[in-house]
């Protein structure tokens, strides 16, 4: 499970001075549930998820992943997390199998376990046809499957997806959506960020709307519909974000 407590991240920019990319964000994600972080570009989604994956260190606040603190025990956190985004590319000169095995070994799997795990995943994702092909020779769909296999090889309890369908064609995006659902059905804790409303509507048990680094509202889709008197998630999003956006612009 994920417990974010007052997560904040500030950056120094030469021109703009201090930037609060994430500002005091707290939320919980439960096992077997999908938490959707919805926000526009630059809202702070990626920075939040990078802090949960311990790629970035919070300036203030912290988060617990399966009971491990992201600041104190980053390596234990990463051992329990599968992180997938469009920015997590593959090593072009390794084959699909070598790549998955590499990450399995980095996660401390012994060779017999690794072999069994890789065979299982490759069968499940129908990857045997290209397991010995180099990653730079794979199609986009094959690359996505290899990335999924990479995140699954150590059987993590928590899955973090940062705009996983960004720039993908419909068929590849559907594979990813199906995979996210499968993770939930397997009892994993899932958090994913997106700006695509339909994905959130289809998948999420809880939705958090983020803008200018602040988590403005959270709840189930039904709760948000009731609170804002709108059926369409896009309308709800606009209602939540607009006052904040106008205030930020005037500043």
């Amino acid at each position: 499970m994920i417990e974010a407590r007052g997560l904040s991240k500030r950056f120094q920019d030469k021109k703009r001075g201090e930037i609060r990319a994430v500002d005091n964000v707290s939320f919980d994600c439960q096992p077997g549930k999908i938490y959707g972080l919805l926000g526009a570009n630059g809202a702070g989604k990626t920075t939040t998820l990078r802090m949960l994956a311990t790629i970035l260190e919070p300036t203030d606040g912290t988060a617990l992943i399966c009971g491990h603190d992201v600041i104190e025990q980053p390596e234990k956190v990463r051992a329990n997390v599968g992180f997938l985004s469009t920015a997590t590319a593959l090593y072009p000169r390794l084959t699909a199998q070598e790549l998955v095995e590499y990450f399995g070994r980095l996660n401390g799997l012994d060779e017999p376990t690794l072999k069994k795990r890789v065979d299982d995943i490759f069968n499940r994702l129908d990857m045997n046809g290209f397991r010995d092909r180099r990653c730079d020779k794979l199609s986009t769909g094959m690359k996505q499957k290899t990335s999924i296999a990479r995140t699954l090889v150590h059987d993590p309890l928590v899955m973090i997806f940062d705009e996983p369908t960004n720039g993908l064609d419909i068929m590849t995006a559907r594979t990813i959506i199906g995979f996210i659902r499968e993770c939930r059905d397997l009892g994993k804790t899932v958090i994913f960020s997106t700006h695509i409303m339909s994905e959130v509507e289809k998948l999420c048990d809880t939705i958090g709307i983020i803008e200018s680094g602040k988590l403005l509202v959270e709840g189930s889709l039904a709760q948000l519909r009731e609170k804002y008197g709108e059926q369409d998630l896009e309308e709800i999003f606009v209602k939540v974000v607009t006052p904040h956006f106008v205030a930020e612009e005037s500043n």
């Binding site: 992180f83 997590t88 593959l90």
Partner: protein, 404 residues
Amino acid sequence: MPTRSVGIVYRKELTEALRDRRTVISTVLVPLLLFPVLSVGFGSLAVVLVGKAKEETPKVMLRGGEDSPAIVDGLKKLEKIEIVPLADNWKEQIVNKEIRATVEIPRRFEADIAQQKQDTVSIYKYEGELKSEFAAEKIDKYMNSYSQSVVKERLAARNLSDSVLKPFEIKQQNVAPPEKVSGAAFGGFIGYMVILLCMTGAMYPAMDLTAGEKERGTMETILSSPISRTHLVLGKFFLVLTAALGTAALSVLSMGVSFSVLSYYTGKTASGRAEAAAFLLHLGPKTVISVFIMALPIAVLFSAVLMTIALFAKTYKEAQSYLTPMTFVVIFPSIAAMLPGVELTSKLALIPILSTSLLCKELVAGTYHWNLIALIFLSTCVYAAMALFLAIKMFQRESVLFRS
């Protein structure tokens, strides 16, 4: 287990490096081909060109000499010199390489010699131009032998022997063994090449494993795995170090083979290249091992420094622009070590690169100053450790890893 993680990263980086054409070219092919091309190729070309220049019959003009028929006749009879009629623009013709030289014989030259008056014969040439220099050399040689024959005649007329002008002989004799002579002559060059190639060997992988990884988008992928950043840097660092030492080892091997081939073709004559060949063939395993042990900390230093600098870059191209000037930082102290009179002292032993380069010169010559060796090894190890520490620190900095 730290060693296991570092080993996993190292093996993966090695697999990728061996599959990368650019790395294989810069680390394996360039050092293997550089010396054969430079020494055998250019060396043979130089021999052929110099030989051709020597074989050419240069055209030479004569100014004056109408009243000195014997000397003019002697010049005309000289082999491989063609005396052509004098033209007013003879200077221009030398510069334009139409003729190679002009000899000016003063008026009443032979009559003055008979009366024991001193005159000056001038040889006009194009300085630095090989064929003109050869022509001037031939004329100079002839005029010298003529001068000596005149001296001999004068001494004989006075019933004096040659020893009047040359009361004693001077003979310089070498007491250093041949390997030390060769070491003094070529030791600096060996150090220079080993150091430079350690640097060039490390350069490409250092960029590929840092800026290249950022550019390809795999940095975030690897940072999301449980490996600690220190182990990640060490795994990458060992690969860069392997490339640096591999390049240096292959170059020394290639250098040895090239010189032995050259030595075979030049028949081990007294020429510089043949001496170098003979010397390199006599490089003992002790010398080779000593040079490599001393090259180790410098290779560590280069690998860590290059990785740290390249990590700042967002792209491979940007990294190239940062690292190219580094070549000069390495070349200057390496060349300084080759300058005549620069000797290893305890103060110079603390200057990285220069100290190793100077030490290589001594090691190749078979001189082992153990105090200085220890000082250089330790000081370079300290610099190398500092550079590696810096590289590890840089890998912890988000502003460097995610620079935008």
